[in-house]
Amino acid sequence: MNSRLIFIAILLFYFGQIFSQVASSSSKGIAISHTINQENFKDERLSFRNRTSTGFTSQLSFFWDKKNTRQTINLGFGKNTRSNDTGMVSFENLRPRLTYAYQRILHNFHVGGTLNVESLLSFPVSGRWAGNNSISYTIWSSIGLSTAFHQPLFFKKQKFALISEFHLPVLSYVVRPSYGLPYPEDFLKDETFDFQRKNMTASLLTSGKIRSLNQFQQLNFRVGFSSFLSSKQHEIRLSYSFDYLKLRDVKSVRQMKNGLQLLGIFKF
């Protein structure tokens, strides 16, 4: 219980940082990206198989620069399409995310921390799926490291940049179903079973466990080139994107995405 309180205190501190610094921002911008990716996925709550599918991730980011700092709020949504699979079932995976990053700018490096709230929802798609476990979910909130590297390049007086970004949550609060059926742990301690699941949301929020890097790994890595469009330094960026998620648990889950990301950055 103490660990949960500490974690909540850290969350409040981070949100406080957002609202205290946004008001005094001196420049800001919006970034919109779309990533086409190939996904490798395995959730042992539903299947013992690895499967590969294609998919996309769309993101909308807002950022504020002030002196030597940058803050970013990022909203993202990922979805896979069905794989060309020989099995009787495919899985539809949805991955909404909300990320906040606070970075110090040190020459070409941005170094800081992230706070994110994310979930991975998986639905078996099959007319022959007979069980009551028609969803698996992983919901987590993490704090971690965030770095970026920007190297300006010039070619025939045209400015480019080599960009690399890396995000690694180190401590996470993770919610997974208690065991086989998709009920969170606290839902099964409630003494009553509510078929309409009215009290499920509260149980979801309180049923998580604190996970460190050895149990829950999630990292995002991008590397790509930016091209600058005008004196206002709007950017178009093409990047290779790698996302990895793994939770070691009684029933583990793993998702890995390799993608090609097209990103537009508009400063104002």
Partner: protein
Amino acid sequence: MKKQLFFCLSLLGLFSCNKEDFPEISNPQVFQEMWQYIDENYIYFDQKGVDWNEVRKDYEPLINERLEEEELLDICFEMLNLLKDGHNRLTTNDFDENYDYKIGYEIHFDLSVVKQNYLDNDFQESAFYTYGILQDSIAYAHFSSFKQVDKIQEVMNFFSTQPIKGMIFDIRDNTGGDGQDAVEIVGHFIEQPRVVGYLVEKTGRAHDDISMPLSVQAIPKSPFIDVPIALLTNRKSYSASTYLASQLKDLPNVTLVGQITGGGGGGNQTQELSNTWLLTISSSKFLDIHFDESIEEGVVPDVTITNDSLTLTKGIDEMLEKAIGIF
């Protein structure tokens, strides 16, 4: 420029390096995976009286690499059936079978006989529901499945406007559906919130890793149906139907008529094995209000009667007539 071009090509190479991950899996691996999944997730071992480790000793020697898929399937399905659980199912591209809980029972029911000879073709129906008024102002509703919780309200609203002296709920041949439908139905027959049973969920790998009994409560629903009720059951009344029968059995104005139900009051879960088979097993169980687990084997009616096939072909539903006779 060449370096940048090389870098871009490298990125594309990384992007395309994934391939369909569909490894060959050996027959012993499939057997081990299936045995272990059942061992760690099935909830009725104690009640079924099956020593799962002994089962492994008996069946593992039968498994080898030379077996064709059909032979492997036969052995695995036979092993699964030792648990005698109708929710346990094995599904492949060409095979989709569960344990047959109806074996040994005479089951004769024909809804068209009820429609023609007892409702005089004056009834309303939807995909899963048939309802109307029988002779002597007795309401009749047959539910072939529990899949339309909103339709229950419509049926009850209809009966609340009729001058009925009793109601027959017929769940013969109803093999289940959504357990919530059963709780909703009970809600129309009670005036105060009532605990109708308990659910127990599997919470870990060990056989005794289970939750405490979680009470299931029915909430009063409008319209309140305040007449004597007969619930008609047969051995094909399975899963959510057994669940309903166990909940109604303890209400003072309800009489169960027919055959013992098929059982299977709990919940189940499905897993895809590495060779693409789908394995479904019971992973939660339902206890009645006396904490009795035996409803897994079926709910015994208050009045036992079975239709005779010959009589049914003559248009006579003896089970229904018995139910009509109690009002």
